[in-house]
């Protein structure tokens, strides 16, 4: 779901940096100094977990996990994603440099949406509630990110319409995988260490 350098229009990637700068400044004010080591160690865990391959028919996909990141780190998730993507671009040449702002925005907004949604679960009591909310949080992370990515591509140029359509179709199985992994991870965390979840 990352965009490499040279694809997006200048206004779009500059806008990505502006938006990410503003949201990061907002989130930084909401985290206490003692959360710095926590966010860092969890970012390292997310970084590594997103390197895990999941087989999908003849190919395999990487996990994105931005929804799960949102429900575990809350406001810290945006910072975690920004740092994770920067390290990924510098260490593994995965994603672009001028697109770090846009990529962090796409995934980070998805994570914050998942976080907001997951907080609603206290108000509802149904069977399989934890799995359902984890699953939907995982799906929301991908869907919101994908919508944001599509808007970025389409405002860069109408010629990207074909790419956007293909990306939407290609992400359908990824949504299911992300949702299921997030759902199962949520049940596991609720049983083993519920304080990890926000």
């Amino acid at each position: 779901m990352h965009v490499a350098d040279g694809v997006l229009a200048t206004q779009v990637w500059v806008g990505g940096y502006v938006a990410t700068g503003a949201i990061t400044a907002f989130c930084l004010r909401r985290i206490a100094p003692e959360q710095i080591p926590k966010i860092s160690i969890m970012t390292a865990a997310f970084f590594v977990a997103s390197l895990i391959h999941v087989p999908l028919g003849p190919t395999s996909v990487h996990l994105i996990l931005n929804g799960l990141c949102g429900i575990i780190l809350g406001w810290g998730a945006y910072i975690s994603i920004l740092v994770g993507l920067t390290l990924q671009a510098l260490l593994f040449q995965h994603g672009g440099l001028t697109t770090i702002g846009v990529n962090a925005f796409n995934m980070g907004v998805g994570a914050l949406a998942a976080f907001g949604f997951f907080k609603l679960r206290g108000k509802i009591s149904i069977r399989h509630r934890d799995f359902l909310f984890g699953f939907l949080a995982g799906v929301i992370g991908v869907v919101v990110g994908l919508i944001s990515l599509s808007i970025c591509l389409l405002t860069s140029g109408e010629e990207f319409l074909g790419v956007v359509k293909l990306a939407l179709v290609a992400h359908l199985p990824i949504m299911a995988i992300e949702g299921l992994v997030a759902g199962f991870a949520t049940i596991f965390l609720m049983k083993v260490k519920p304080e990890v979840l926000r």
Binding site: A4, D5, G6, V7, T10, T24, L28, I31, P33, I36, P37, K38, I39, S40, I41, M42, T43, A44, A45, F47, V48, A49, L51, I52, V54, P55, L56, G57, L63, L65, I72, I79, S80, L82, V83, G84, L87, L90, L91, F92, Q93, H94, G96, L97, T98, E159, L161, G162, V163, L166, L180, V181, A182, F184, A185, F188, L189, V192, K193, E195
Partner: protein
């Protein structure tokens, strides 16, 4: 899962290695910025040649660089194919209903060249300094203090997390687990990831207490300081000039 090794060759000797990382990052960022703004294919190709020359002069082995270009090459080729098919224009080649247009081919090539050029520039920029020093240099470049600290800690813990993830996967494999496209695989991976987070969460508490007991109060104290010399500025001017030349070519041509 392999270890991050971008700074594997940061111990070599070259004018890039001996350069103050703050000046290096600033001037390379300017060069990257000028390349991303290019809209003409011939100028972008000049940029590609310049970037290749910079990579060669960094003395980083080419085998190492090719290995790290895999992702961007994959991305670029997918984009290249899609763009040549989806952008309408003068028909170059037709295969049933698929038309490859000249405009699409041009636009696709431009994106590919720019993406590849910028990725190449990461090696002389980041690969010639030990990565922890690069992170520290960001602080000198006014990146917010908390972001620098989180990056530094995250980088440190990535190695530990990779080792832990590998151990857990070996444990699963030795009990007969095979990754397939089914619900069982996703359930197992979900639990594995959950366990990684539980372990990391417990570690965060121990690490934080250990840090506080050694006097951590949100500030980071380091021993080495940077010193900017005349040579560092000269090199920065040289790299920035390359960017200015590219932009001038773009405007003039």
């Amino acid at each position: 899962m392999h270890l991050p090794e971008i700074d594997k060759y940061s111990h070599l000797q070259s004018y890039l290695h001996s350069w103050d990382p703050r000046a290096k990052i600033t001037s390379f960022s300017f060069l990257i910025l000028s390349i991303v703004l290019l809209g003409k294919l011939p100028v972008a190709l000049v940029g590609f040649v310049l970037a290749s020359a910079l990579v060669l002069s960094s003395r980083i082995p080419l085998r190492f660089i090719f290995k790290h270009l895999r992702w961007v090459l994959l991305f670029v080729s997918v984009f290249f194919i899609l763009m040549s098919i989806f952008i309408p224009g003068q028909e170059l080649y037709r295969f049933h209903s698929l038309v490859i247009s000249q405009e699409g081919l041009q636009k696709g090539t431009l994106i590919a060249v720019k993406a590849l050029t910028i990725t190449l520039l990461i090696f002389p920029m980041i690969g010639t300094t030990p990565f922890p020093t690069t992170i520290k240099a960001l602080e000198g470049l006014r990146v917010p203090h908390v972001l620098v600290q989180i990056s530094a800690f995250t980088y440190r813990y990535i190695f530990l997390s990779i080792a832990e993830g590998k151990r857990m996967i070996i444990a699963l494999t030795s009990r007969g687990f095979e990754r397939k496209t089914d619900l069982h695989t996703l359930q197992t991976l979900g639990k594995l990831i959950g366990m990684m987070f539980v372990r990391s969460y417990e570690r965060t508490e121990r690490v934080y207490q250990a840090m506080v007991s050694r006097g951590y109060n949100g500030e980071m104290v380091t021993m080495n300081e940077f010193h900017l010399h005349g040579g560092d500025i000269g090199k920065a001017i040289f790299i920035s000039l390359l960017g200015v030349i590219l932009i001038s070519l773009e405007v003039v041509l």
